[in-house]
Symmetry: C2
Subunit: 887 residues, 2 copies
Amino acid sequence: MATLDKYCYYFGEGNPSGPGAKLVLGGKGISLGVMTNMGLPVPPGFTISCPTCQAYILSGNKWPKGLEEELDTYIARLEKDLGKSFGSTEDPLLLSVRSGAAVSMPGMMDTVLNLGLNDAAVAGLAKKTGNERFAFDAYRRFIQMYGDVVLGCEHHDFEKILNALKAKYSIKGDTDMTVEHLKELIISYKEYVAKKTGAPFPQDPKTQLATGISAVFDSWNNPRAISYRRINKISAEVIGTGVTVMAMCFGNMGETSGTGVAFTRNASTGIKEIYGEFLTNAQGEDVVAGIRTPLQFSQMTTMGPMWAGISAQLVKIMETLEGYYKDMVDLEFTIEEGKLWMLQARAGKRTGAAMIQIALDLIKEGLITKEEALLRMDPAKLSEVLFPMFDKKAAKTVIGKGLNASPGAAVGQIVFHSDACCEWAAAGKKVILVREETTPEDIEGMVTAAGVLTVRGGLSSHAAVVARGMGRTAVVGAGCCHINMDNKTLTIGDRVYQEGDYLSIDGGNGEIYDGQVPTVDVEFGEGFNQIMAWADEYRTMKIRTNADNPADCAAARRFGCEGVGLCRTEHMFFEKERIGVVREMILAESFEVRSEALSRLLPFQQSDFEGIFRAMDGLPVNIRLLDPPLHEFLPHLEEVDYIKTHAKQIGITYEKYVSTIRSLHESNPMLGFRGVRLGVLYPEISEMQVRAIMQAAVVVQTEGVVCLPEIMIPVLFSDKEMARLKELVTRIAKEVMDAEGVVVKFKCGTMIELPRACLVADQIAEHAEYFSFGTNDLTQTTFGISRDDGSKFIPAYQENGILPTDPFATIDQDGVGQLMKLAVEKGRSVRPGMSVGICGEQGGDPDSAVFLCKLGLSYVSCSPFRVPGARLATAQAAIKVMQEEKK
Amino acid sequence: MATLDKYCYYFGEGNPSGPGAKLVLGGKGISLGVMTNMGLPVPPGFTISCPTCQAYILSGNKWPKGLEEELDTYIARLEKDLGKSFGSTEDPLLLSVRSGAAVSMPGMMDTVLNLGLNDAAVAGLAKKTGNERFAFDAYRRFIQMYGDVVLGCEHHDFEKILNALKAKYSIKGDTDMTVEHLKELIISYKEYVAKKTGAPFPQDPKTQLATGISAVFDSWNNPRAISYRRINKISAEVIGTGVTVMAMCFGNMGETSGTGVAFTRNASTGIKEIYGEFLTNAQGEDVVAGIRTPLQFSQMTTMGPMWAGISAQLVKIMETLEGYYKDMVDLEFTIEEGKLWMLQARAGKRTGAAMIQIALDLIKEGLITKEEALLRMDPAKLSEVLFPMFDKKAAKTVIGKGLNASPGAAVGQIVFHSDACCEWAAAGKKVILVREETTPEDIEGMVTAAGVLTVRGGLSSHAAVVARGMGRTAVVGAGCCHINMDNKTLTIGDRVYQEGDYLSIDGGNGEIYDGQVPTVDVEFGEGFNQIMAWADEYRTMKIRTNADNPADCAAARRFGCEGVGLCRTEHMFFEKERIGVVREMILAESFEVRSEALSRLLPFQQSDFEGIFRAMDGLPVNIRLLDPPLHEFLPHLEEVDYIKTHAKQIGITYEKYVSTIRSLHESNPMLGFRGVRLGVLYPEISEMQVRAIMQAAVVVQTEGVVCLPEIMIPVLFSDKEMARLKELVTRIAKEVMDAEGVVVKFKCGTMIELPRACLVADQIAEHAEYFSFGTNDLTQTTFGISRDDGSKFIPAYQENGILPTDPFATIDQDGVGQLMKLAVEKGRSVRPGMSVGICGEQGGDPDSAVFLCKLGLSYVSCSPFRVPGARLATAQAAIKVMQEEKK
């Protein structure tokens, strides 16, 4: 790492610009600089750069050389510009110290407000504002916040001291405290801090600032932030947050003061209307925390000329900012005694529906081009608009209503804690997380929940913002709800719900329904169809789907898939009436018995394929022959009764049954007797499957269905395996076609999922008519990581920056990608233009799309609900590649 | 596969020559052609080529087009040349049909003798030979052999019929049967064949020939042959045997007839002396089967002028053949009524000691050069001369004596069946296989036995030849032994041994000792040292050893190793007094408890390393940090009592103990939480190990030992892992060196054992100072084959030709080799000339040596006993590469 020329940047002065600027200043730093330069009212201040924080972290939490001196210069400048000075008993300089990383991580890192107050400065503040109560309230807030963030004191200890004081003087609300009360409270607070930390509360503002900055640096690596980065796939290679140090302005100086947030368009629907909330006589934290229910932005004009003026000023600022950002903007502001101050502006988070609407409107308004609109959309969000809605015709009992914070229909069992939410979801349950209000600690729970319901908070509350961000259905501020955490009940009206009871919530209208309301598929809006049509114009790769049954095929087709990229045949083996026969086949002691059992499985498989072929009429269907090791189909040894019964039924001894289970056990099943290895040793299994596929094709073709089966051999590492199975497939196919007198256009190819298959892809391509990358297994073998076991260290590897992303979610271009490139080149050197697709999880991953596009893949295949996102992501990839080539 | 121009080759006429000739004609076909051209007495005949057999097998056992017609021409030629004709009642043409593959597979495939006999021809044979009894005996032998080999009749059924006839007429020996008896026997045989096969015994000689040839073709794929090829690593890519069709000559026409085998030098010691055995009035099979104890070649001169003449003729022929083969020759001959016929000649199989002696002698005699001698030696055989011998000073009770068929000292528990041998050996026991005589069915048992003892058979018997071939100690023809298979006892004199009792046998002198006689290391002979010295002149790669303790290090050093290539530290963890502490460390619930347990392990590890460093004074020692997943060190859940006791001892609950075992369980431990992954998450473990290594180095250096430790990080896939561990190693090393004020020259490198590590080797080489290929794991991941589970399909894959060899024994150059090449190039592009070694099993494999040499590896590392073989193999590789470059 090179030494840094400069650590601090005064707002708007000599700030870096261009795409790399965010990596230096962070999102907040950039926006404050931009607004300053636009002449918007921004409190003076400066940003300590992200690389400074990085240097601090990488050196083991030491301040880089020269930072202290540079900071002194900037503080001196601030003092001069504002005519205030640190610790002044006349007019003290007070600062906010906030985090602001390159990628927005709302609420994850720490903030210190009112910094600069001490026993002397509090008098100065009182004198300057003429408001002694305000000054001492600010001081006690500062002790509390600084104590919590910087000194490691406990928030609830401060609360206890506060409550004790209120009890002592029989005070009800915080606002009822007098100056004397506050002074007494400050003394108690300082005593607590001294006891807790072994040192008096620091009185030197410079010490406060230095430790405050370090605390914000440190908060980059607090568990919340680490977990947020992992969940949101924020690369661990970009390390460190920026820190903005800015003159305080106070929204809590009375009824001509206030604070709020606003979106230039509706973040839920995308409609072009200002959508904002504010509180008078409050600090910003009060809005986000959802403690008081805020006023709507539109109400501002009705509150008298001062507020109407502020409103008009804000509307104008919003127009300016939209013109600059060419996007919907989310802003934070504070009004101090009638004067507006801008604290933050950024492209606002939005729902999938809003994303589409806003993009279409911005194009119409001439602000952005079609390509820009496509590039700017988040493929993952697109799936939100595909989620089912409640059936309008279904009977439902509305039992309450909250704010429609994030759309969709969620049905699930209620739980009251984030941890419980994770556990229940891991057990396969659909869960609704019910909370008074959510905090950053609830993130993991929200990720796993089907929906979120909160009692307090507005549309800008933590719950609302985060739920919209992750596309989770949410109803917030439902005051009709009463939670009792002790006996884990939710009371709505006269109904009492226990943990585990079912509720349904509608994020579109905020309604809460009793029990489980049935859902239906949505009609796609015109906007969605328009975006998809544009995406289809640009993309170079086709989109297929991974589907094993006609219903999934039909769903994927509705979403625009162009074929089945992976049809796993083993799922069909597990159905109840089949698994017994499958086991019989595996337990067979002779070729004859096995063949007989296989002949009974054939009609099942054939009818499965018929259904799939009909659903995919006219589109190719790539069917993978049996993949998992046979032991996966056998019962567990513990199922003694079942084994005894089944053994009797199929005429073998219990001992033989058990010994077969034992003998098929594997130490490393991932690397075991599976895939083509089964086909080589038990060709009769593959023959049955091919026969079922071809007979199904013949049946549907005679119905007039256009059937394009592709038969795929899994887990191979050698051309010789391919040659053997190709011969088998061709022979059986010919037998079936000859017998029926029908010609079926079929292909025979292979899954490329082992490093060796990539390395000898030229040899394999002599026989294989197409390739499909199985990047899940290819990643497992290339990295030597079992997906089932990797969870023990992959998260730590991500946090340590060893893995920039989870390679099972996003293609590892350096390693796995190198093998894929080799395979494509070698394969096509022998069979020019051969079809090469990808059917691993990473096929549906937007972050892998540019790489796959450059690789020249023919298609990506993903689960049905990821198809629209893949259509968009592949279009974005194609546009990016085109733009790169132009350069 | 191209069409074949030609299927048959008349002996010596237009035969292909050069290195590829064997692939066409097979070893036997070549030798018969060569001898014919030399003017040696070879019965006329021709060879059907190996590719013909291959075409037959690959087309599903169909004769290639035109073979039948070509065969007719060749038979007509034979009839003309010999003045005999097929089925003649005057002088019938009789043929032998024998297998003969490119690589010698003695006794594994089928043979048919006396072919051409039928009800008419038998009369012709009688007339021509004037010996009716001989003719009918030949006919009944033919029915028996043809019935067994071609028609699928059972050998023991024929025996039953024969015995019934002998009982009926109270006949003792076979030779007591009259012509009338034989005629009656032939009728019974034919009845049995007709009943068994549903058709009369074929009378048409052409049918006999065609089916006979097919049967020999088929015998290529009999289970014996398949298993032999697998054990001897004969590539499954070379398919098919040649078939020699040759005029019969009879060694059983009376006392002026006979048959034998001879070696031009002693195959056991290598001494230049003719070493041969023969039987009068017998067929070749009788010698090999060991049914009658044969006469020594030297006796021939004492048997009258005819035999003395034959002996002189043979001595001359042997000289000629040695001159041609420039090697010790093994030959088969038959004398028919005083006339010598040569049936086979080939380079003879020999012991390791003989191999060395013969090579040295041939150089001295000017027949071959030093390079030729080195190239011709079998590295695997070299280890034979390293095996311990019985301690000359030890008391031993000689209880019997047999023939010294294959040298060495073997001590073990006796078993009487090949299967038992395999089972006991698999259970880790040392076993001596005791048999009346061995057959090809005993091969698997012989592979696993420490030694072989047979009651019957000479030095050319199956047991002797095979045991010498595989370097197994053998004493054969020990007539003093009496086996009772029913109660599984071996009686020698008045001693009775049960299965499982211990015996010791000396293959050097043929003695059998009671119980377990202690053994001592051999002194290497001058010859061995000479060969090794020459090998060391040529080789370009250094030889290291895989050793975890001072004793193994010392042994390897004696064998000439130049360092430790792999010292596995985990083996040290399993020792009795340590494993409890290791478990305590794993079960620790906090960093502190874990660190405390680690601090108790440190002295153990340190003293291990001290011992190893002392043993390797002056040579580098490459130590791998902890590799296996932690669960491998924990007890099994079933060990309830142990767990309860140990839990109590270390102060945790039984439930916690069990839940840790459960939580550490992995689905695919090969791809699990192991190697560097442990080092990243629990750096304290690596720190302890590095500290132990460096402290040990400091201790031995102060003693004057030259210590060159190399610290190796296992299982990594990323440069970031390497950077982290390098920092750790460097930091701890510095701490230790600073504390002791001593400088230790150490290096820090990595194992390259995952495909991704190869793919990003350039990035890794930025930090790693050396590479060592862990080709076991690299092969597992590149192929997606778990070594533990692959046994289910690898043998079948080899038999099917999908895997030419076991990739865990011999480097897969196409796949794994490609990755290795990449890694070497990328690694050295960043760190020119960096040391790159190999420590996987394949490092000691002679068949991989040329590839590893071309790769430019710095060293190969193998187990101590493979070191001399590796010295030779790497020299051979260097010579081959040199020769290739000259071309």
